[in-house]
């Protein structure tokens, strides 16, 4: 396998920066192209790559299609980027794919929507706390001069014990990129680099579609030739690859209605005693997630062990064919079907699952609030900045969101979208939306599921390699 060029790849792909409790996502617009190029030339060396020793603060940069266009990226070269990236997160078709309707309609978004200001690039700054992140950003600001203006700033932080606002431990089952130096995690999480980084082979053993420079521009000599060896038909010269060592980043701001979520679950209970109601609500929430709030998987624990854990060592074929432990519609069973992919045998299932993974990068915003059945009224708006890296947005993020989360037909289900991220807002009550909990005898069904996660903004970015960022400054 080709060795990963770690000093070229932006580090956020490999490192969640757990040590850095605070992050600021600066969504920027280019005001002065020449100045923006100067800024990129200056800052490229500062971008935290995967081989860099971690300092007190880190910086990663991504571009939207508009941003590349502003910098003078040639239209024909732009065409080599994936369609998803070129079109952006907001199109009529994509709205259907991602299920962004009603309250999540892009028209209502705070950023990234058709009514919002254009976003050209994202600067992600990390620090151990807010002060450190801001202090670092202040050192960058003079270099930007008149180049960039801030459209929106999103603050993200890690909540204690890796919890998110609903109260669950998050980010347990992450893929590990082969060759990244991280310890192999086993259990089917070790994935070929080409699922996340362009220029390397993916889980189909082929190179993912990459951003070739079909038209020569800028100082393209600094870029690598494309790995697949594609060349101009006439000159036979291999195309330079802007995408090499780069990756696509999906960012969605998801507001969480924590109070609505727990109230809904408590209302499902017929118990009158508060403690029992809370217990049942927690049980239902765990069934919907597939893990207890502390992270213990239902496949292994039928009772809440009440402790935090990162146990990811389980499958479904032997442990839970019937779904009696972890329902088929549960969030984690949909997002990572492990060895039960549709109706394929376990070894094939594991192979297929590896082709639809994403590298999640989650940061919460709003009050430091961890919800539970007992305590579910945060002050102000809370939510999470859902981010994920992938080499093929269509095959990975969009596939997962549409086919596994939004589709009520997942597995043999009839009308069960993902209880967290797939349920549609349905003000006219025209949809049947359930959550089915298999039991020894009769399925228990939670009907009239409601949506408790609302999209407030989103965009697709490309995170180029360090060299490709330098190249952009030469356009």
């Amino acid at each position: 396998m080709t060795a990963l060029e770690l000093s070229e790849i932006q580090s956020y792909l490999f490192n969640e920066y757990k040590e850095m409790g605070f992050s600021k996502y600066y969504l920027m617009q280019i005001q002065n192209t020449a100045a923006a190029k100067n800024f990129l030339a200056e800052v490229a060396g500062e971008v935290t790559h995967a081989n860099a020793a971690l300092k007190d603060s880190c910086l990663n940069i991504g571009f939207t299609r508009d941003g590349l266009k502003e910098l003078g990226y040639h239209e024909e070269n732009m065409h080599s980027f994936s369609r998803e990236f070129r079109e952006g997160m907001v199109t009529d078709h994509r709205q259907r794919l991602l299920g962004d309707f009603e309250g999540s309609d892009p028209k209502l978004w705070k950023w990234g929507g058709p009514e919002n200001e254009r976003i050209d690039l994202i600067l992600i700054v990390f620090g151990k706390d807010e002060d450190a992140a801001e202090a670092y950003y202040r050192t960058l600001r003079p270099k930007m001069e008149t180049a960039l203006s801030e459209v929106k700033t999103l603050d993200g932080k890690s909540l204690p014990n890796d919890r998110e606002h609903f109260g669950f431990r998050d980010g347990i089952s992450q893929p590990v990129i082969k060759g990244s130096g991280s310890k192999a995690s086993g259990n089917n999480n070790d994935i070929n680099p080409g699922e996340f980084v362009l220029g390397y082979k993916n889980e189909y053993n082929v190179y993912p579609d990459t951003a070739l420079l079909r038209v020569k521009q800028g100082q393209s000599d600094m870029l690598a030739d494309n790995s697949e060896g594609l060349a101009d038909k006439k000159t036979k010269i291999k195309f330079k690859d802007f995408g090499h060592n780069g990756t696509y980043f999906v960012l969605r701001q998801l507001e969480q209605d924590v109070d609505g979520f727990w109230t809904f679950l408590k209302n499902q209970s017929k118990e009158t005693e508060e403690e029992k109601r809370n217990g049942e609500a927690t049980y239902l929430a765990a069934k919907m997630m597939g893990r207890w709030p502390g992270g213990a998987p239902l496949v292994k624990y039928d009772q809440d062990p009440g402790i935090d854990m990162e146990d990811n060592n389980f499958n479904y074929t032997k442990e839970d064919t019937s779904g009696n432990k972890c329902p088929f519609g549960a969030h984690i069973r949909r997002m990572n079907p492990r060895d039960v992919f549709e109706e394929s045998p376990p070894n094939i299932s594991l192979m297929l699952t590896r082709r639809h993974r994403i590298m999640r990068r989650i940061r919460s915003y709003g009050e430091d609030f961890i919800g539970s059945a007992e305590n579910h009224k945060p002050t102000g708006k809370v939510g999470l900045l859902f981010g994920c890296f992938n080499a093929n947005i269509s095959k990975q993020f969009e596939f997962i969101q549409y086919t596994w989360a939004n589709s009520p037909k997942f597995k043999r289900l009839y009308a069960d979208p993902d209880p967290f991220i797939g349920v549609r807002e349905d003000p006219k009550h025209t949809l049947e939306q359930n959550f089915t909990i298999p039991t020894e005898t009769c399925n228990r069904v939670i009907t009239d599921m409601q949506r408790f996660v609302h999209v407030r903004g989103g965009a697709y970015f490309f995170f180029p390699s360090v060299t490709s960022i330098k190249f952009l400054s030469t356009l």
Binding site: H79, S80, F81, S82, R83, H93, R96, L97, K201, N202, Y204, N205, V206, Y207, P208, D209, L230, S322, G323, E342, E343, S344, I348, M351, L352, R355, H356, S394, K395, E398, F399, Y402, T403, S407, P408, K409, K411, R412, Y414, T430, P438, E440, T441, C442, N443, V445, T447
Partner: protein, 463 residues
């Protein structure tokens, strides 16, 4: 048991009426979509033998590659229908022209040879459609034997049982058999479900037929004919195929926009594709062999809702036309294009490669020659090492398949580039996945059966 059949008829479009025809098709599409999205019955719903139907305009522009026969302007009507009576084609034609008369008239009056207004009768309309009937080469049905009426009835039955079970509280420890009995009583008390007492016929695997074909295949191998043919195709054809490097980003945006315009409104989607067969008798014969194989497997083995292990297809078919030089592929499936093709690559790349490698500009395959020992030999040739291998193990045999559909990026691009827009698409049960359809039949058939506790538990899980 009612058998389902494919129907396809092609009619020549009057060139000067093409714009009008397009606008009429678009009006029908929009009207149909709007009604389906708001659950309003449509005219098509009146044809209670029609599973799926589509109208597609076929022209020179539909072909990505140079056609091998002159391509006229054609309106293609393709349906899947329940075979009623001895002459089921006749019955289907009658169904179409009597229930869809306004559509048939306004569309086909844009075609050459359609009867003039005063001369339009049931018979003259049928005669016109009959003229363009084209034979289907291979046909797959995800729920053999299930008529539209039965699918709708079983859907209603499932919904009723679901509501019944979920509107009651079952004491903890209630045996599954007791709940099963209660459901039986509930259904028995409802005369509208009287039909459910009779079990539905479900087609099993036709071992006799399949084994005789298998025997023939073994014979072909034993006599060396099969190996000879594989080597012949490999050495004289596949090795000389050009490498295809088209990727998705090379595709025409406007074309993709047109395709996406009509996709992902429902849990089900459609796919129409047209390709040109490679020239030469050998390729033609090779294609015929693989069509035969697909026909045999689809008829005898793939009768439980899975085509080559793909569990999301309702109906699919291949149609060779224009003197066998061009091929149309139609499919009705659950999920979206990415998932559908993903499934294809993941689960049946070998089957797809075998069929479509006989069409021009398909991603280069190395299928034929790689049977048995050949991959080992090839692996020693330096140039061949670059070809990504895809090991697939079958019982007792080991194939190493490469290229073709396993060449994911180029295969997906090939597929999109040969896909053509479907102007009108109809499905009467778009809220049901093929798994739902088959599961509903199981519920129906197990409802009145005496079940053990374990069987009853499985029954209840189906609901």
């Amino acid at each position: 048991m009612t058998h389902q059949h494919p129907f396809i008829t092609m009619s020549e479009i009057q060139e000067d009426k093409l714009v009008l025809l397009r606008s009429r098709l678009e009006a029908i599409r929009k009207d149909l979509l709007e009604k389906q999205l708001s659950n309003v019955p449509t005219v098509f719903d009146k044809v209670n033998t029609l599973h799926y139907g589509r109208w597609v305009i076929l022209s020179r522009d539909s072909f990505r590659d140079e056609p091998r026969e002159p391509v006229g302007l054609r309106l293609v009507l393709s349906t899947n229908y329940d075979g009623i009576g001895e002459d089921h084609v006749e019955h289907h034609l009658t169904d179409l022209v009597t229930h869809l008369t306004p559509y048939i008239d306004q569309l086909y009056e844009c075609c050459v040879g359609y009867p003039e207004e005063g001369a339009r009768t049931e018979e003259s309309r049928k005669n016109f459609l009959r003229k363009g009937i084209t034979k289907t080469s291979a046909f797959f049905n995800g729920a053999p034997g299930r008529s539209v009426v039965q699918i709708r009835q079983e859907d209603a039955l499932h919904q009723h049982i679901w509501k019944f079970v979920n509107s009651r509280t079952w004491d903890e420890g209630t045996p599954a058999t007791a709940i099963h009995r209660a459901i039986q009583q509930e259904i028995d008390a409802n005369p509208e479900f009287a039909w459910s007492r009779e079990k539905a016929g479900v087609q099993g695997i036709k071992w006799g037929s399949f084994l005789s074909w298998g025997f023939l295949l073994v014979l072909l191998f034993l006599t060396g004919l099969a190996v000879f043919w594989i080597l012949f195709i490999f050495l004289f054809y596949e090795l000389w195929d050009k490498k295809q490097t088209l990727t998705q980003s090379d595709l025409d945006d406007k074309k993709i926009d047109k395709l996406k315009l009509v996709e992902d409104f429902f849990p089900q989607n459609q796919f129409t594709q047209v390709a040109v067969l490679k020239p030469g008798l050998a390729r033609k014969f090779n294609f015929w062999i693989w069509m035969l194989r697909t026909r045999v497997l689809a008829n005898d083995v793939f009768v439980k809702g899975k085509l080559l292990n793909i569990p999301t297809i309702h109906f699919a078919r291949w149609v060779q036309f224009d003197k066998g030089k061009h091929v149309l592929f139609f499919s009705n499936f659950d999920g979206n294009w990415e998932q559908y093709l993903g499934d294809f690559i993941d689960q049946s790349g070998w089957g797809l490669s075998a069929i479509f490698s006989n069409t021009v500009n398909f991603p280069k395959t190395h299928f034929m020659g790689l049977l048995g020992v050949i991959p080992v030999i090839l692996g020693k040739i330096p140039g061949m090492r670059k070809i990504p291998p895809m090991p697939v193990t079958f019982p007792g045999t080991k194939f190493v398949l490469t290229g073709g559909a396993y060449d994911q990026e180029h295969f997906l691009a090939w597929s999109r580039s040969t896909q053509i827009p479907t102007q009108v698409w109809y499905c009467p049960y778009r809220h049901l996945s093929i798994k739902n359809v088959n599961n509903n039949t199981m519920i129906h058939n197990e409802l009145h059966e005496p079940l053990t506790e374990e069987q009853a538990q499985i029954f209840l899980k189906r609901i």
